[in-house]
């Protein structure tokens, strides 16, 4: 399934928004954290997991989805949230912990929920899969359209939840697609050191579903394979397991010294940064011009700037509002 020119441009534009958003967050995150790095300081406290490099996994999948489809994501959720159409201003405000944030500051960067576009995520490794299976079951039982996509990292495939949820999705033949973002590192432990087989997608055979591995961190290749999987799900032909080779251009979290990386790895990854690669491809194919690229870059910056400004300008909720919304 090849993306149209329009779809390719959509993917590129959302990769730009995602990357610029992360770059803005990265910069603001360090405010108040120098010279001494203390995670509790600055306008964005707490852990921060940036998605730089993993944008193809977001756009290549979400290009096939609409707001009614359900996506569950991980502790590293920004790129997927952006591609799924989560309100950028409300997400930025949530990351700042402001009253105007998606949950009024109760969730934070690892707990992004936007019911309008059926997006959620969890900070617990491997726990994205169960809710996606349940959402898919819900659609079948309600005879409603829409599929579910669960994102997880390659490390999460070693959690029991992965085995349980994929087996159940297989047994019940549910409209769900499992997307593993294989950035080859579970914090500091490599995939090779943690996983008995080379490709988690090979595990699909255990669950009676197709398994696909996509090399190259390539949005167009991802679009192709995922498109088939989502089409199968929409037709009631069951779940698919997809593993995407991607790259984490940042640390696991901000403040990660990344001493575990082999010498030269990061430089090598930066040379194949998917955004310039995508740009060159679109240019070469005549889909993108310099003028259009400049316009898209300006557009992406404007969106990010607007969201960040909104977050900065917003007030914190009164501390005692912490007591609200435990129950409805």
């Amino acid at each position: 399934m090849k993306p149209s020119q329009e779809q390719q441009v959509w993917m590129y534009r959302h990769m730009l928004i995602s990357r610029f958003f992360e770059e803005a967050i990265e910069k603001i995150y360090m405010e108040g954290k120098t010279p001494a790095f203390n995670m509790a300081n600055g306008p964005i406290p707490g852990e921060m997991h940036l998605s730089n490099g993993q944008e193809p996994c977001a756009v290549g999948v979400c290009a096939h989805l609409t707001a009614e489809d359900v996506v569950t994501s991980t502790h590293r959720p920004h790129h997927v949230a952006i591609a799924k159409g989560v309100d950028l201003k409300a997400m930025a405000a949530e990351i700042f912990g402001k009253k105007t944030g998606l949950s009024g500051g109760r969730g934070g960067h690892m707990h992004i929920f936007d019911a309008n576009v059926n997006f959620s995520c969890s900070g617990i490794i491997g726990q994205s899969v169960g809710p996606a299976v349940g959402a898919a079951l819900s659609r079948v039982m309600q005879k409603k359209s829409g599929v579910a996509v669960a994102y997880l990292g390659e490390g999460a495939a070693n959690q029991g939840a992965f085995h349980e949820a994929l087996n159940m999705a297989g047994v019940w033949n549910l409209p769900v697609v499992f997307v593993i973002e294989d950035n080859s590192w579970g914090i500091s432990v490599s995939k090779r050191a943690s996983t008995a087989i080379e490709r988690n997608s090979d595990r699909a055979v255990s669950y009676g579903m197709p398994g696909e591995f996509i090399e190259g961190n390539d949005p167009v290749a991802i679009f192709d394979v995922v498109g088939e999987a989502i089409a199968r799900a929409r037709k009631g032909q069951g779940p698919t397991l997809i593993e995407i080779e991607t790259s984490r251009l940042a640390g696991h979290f901000m403040g990660d010294g990344e001493t575990y990386r082999p010498a030269g790895e990061k430089e090598a990854l930066q040379k194949i940064d998917p955004i310039p690669v995508m740009k060159q491809r679109l240019m070469a194919e005549g889909i993108l011009t310099d003028a259009a690229d400049a316009a898209f870059i300006a557009e992406a910056h404007a969106k990010v700037d607007e969201a960040i400004q909104f977050a900065r300008d917003s007030e914190y909720a009164a501390p005692e509002e912490a007591m609200e919304k435990v129950f409805v």
Partner: protein, 340 residues
């Protein structure tokens, strides 16, 4: 009298739960049941009996032995408009699936600022007394009630079981519905006959988070939940023979906790004994006593607790029976108060 007797319809808790679920399933097609052996078998503890026959495999769904997957799936389905009733067969099994319960089911509403709701019921069996060993006999009331974001309820009789199950299914929040095996009315688990009571046929709700005075009295307040209520009632009858008037309060809910009903009772009696089949330390008994003390209720004697010792539940019958709360232990606690 004859007419009243004809109308009386005594049900076990198991039957009452199944009836409540069936009635809600008839009126709300979003309600469905999921769990291990809850389909044709009707639940290991009988509380889904008849549902599969009436509603079929789609809505009464046997799962793989995958608690993480099906409780996680219930969270996803509940947030997508369904109202799942899922069963964790023994509460002791929470160890394999607690992330789905306390990190997602209980927190997603808060994390979404109330924009995402998780209207699901997690029903689970508790309790021992029949030598099932230390991984099939626990109550762990406090473990659940300690964690915010989920209601935790536990009926002591069939009337409350039906009304609280209906209230739980209709609640927009996640509810953990604990049922004690010895109160379930399955003969093979040592049935407590007093849990089998009249249950009206029509659907009704018993409000969650409300305790009830099961037996009024003036000299001492005995607070319990599930089996603890029955130990308390038996103790109250023995005390009555000794000229002591004991009031028994059935908490019914651990979260939200109805402190007011307890405090009002102790204001009247001035004496407090708390009974719980869950472990002694850091448990419900401590929470109740602290709540009464914090409220400044004048006490005639130091409050007492009768709870499970801080040991894994032993298998041998003499050991387990020795460790369980009992009417005799409650009376001993009362006698200790007299000495104060």
């Amino acid at each position: 009298m004859t007419q009243v007797k004809e109308k009386e319809r005594k049900l076990t808790i198991a039957r009452a739960m199944a009836e409540a679920i069936a009635q809600e399933m008839r009126t709300d097609d979003k309600v469905f049941v999921m769990g291990e052996d809850i389909g044709e078998l009707g639940g290991v503890f009988g509380n889904t009996r008849g549902l599969h026959e009436e509603f079929g495999s789609e809505r009464v769904r046997d799962t793989p032995i995958s608690e993480t997957a099906f409780i996680g799936a219930a969270v996803g389905a509940a947030s997508d408009g369904m109202k799942p009733v899922v069963e964790l067969m023994f509460v002791d099994f929470f160890g394999v699936c607690f992330d789905a319960i306390y990190n997602m089911m209980a927190k997603n509403t808060y994390f979404s600022g109330g924009n995402v709701t998780v209207p699901m019921v997690l029903m689970t069996s508790t309790g021992g007394g029949y030598s099932d060993g230390g991984q099939h006999s626990q109550c762990v009331h406090a473990t659940f009630a300690h964690l915010p974001g989920m209601k935790v309820v536990a009926p002591s009789n069939a009337y409350d079981a039906k009304g609280m199950m209906i209230a739980a299914i209709r609640d927009p929040n996640p509810v953990v519905f604990m049922f004690h095996k010895a109160l379930q009315g399955m003969g093979w688990l040592g049935t407590e006959k007093e849990a089998i009571v009249h249950v009206p046929e029509a659907a009704y709700e018993v409000e969650l988070g409300k305790a009830v005075v099961t037996r009024p009295g003036t000299d001492v307040t005995i607070v319990g939940i599930t089996s603890g209520v029955h130990f308390g009632l038996k103790a109250a009858r023995i005390l009555e023979e000794q000229g002591v008037s004991a009031e028994v309060v059935d908490l019914r809910s651990l979260a939200p906790l109805d402190r007011d009903t307890v405090i009002e009772s102790v204001k009247k009696t001035g004496r407090l004994i708390v009974v719980d089949e869950d472990y002694h330390s850091y448990g419900m008994t401590a929470e109740i006593i602290a709540s009464v003390v914090e409220a400044g209720v004048p006490l005639k004697a130091a409050p007492q607790r009768v709870a499970y010792p801080d040991i894994p539940i032993p298998f041998a019958r003499p050991m387990e029976q020795w460790a369980l709360p009992s009417p005799e232990k409650i009376i001993a606690a009362f006698n200790k108060m007299k000495e104060d």
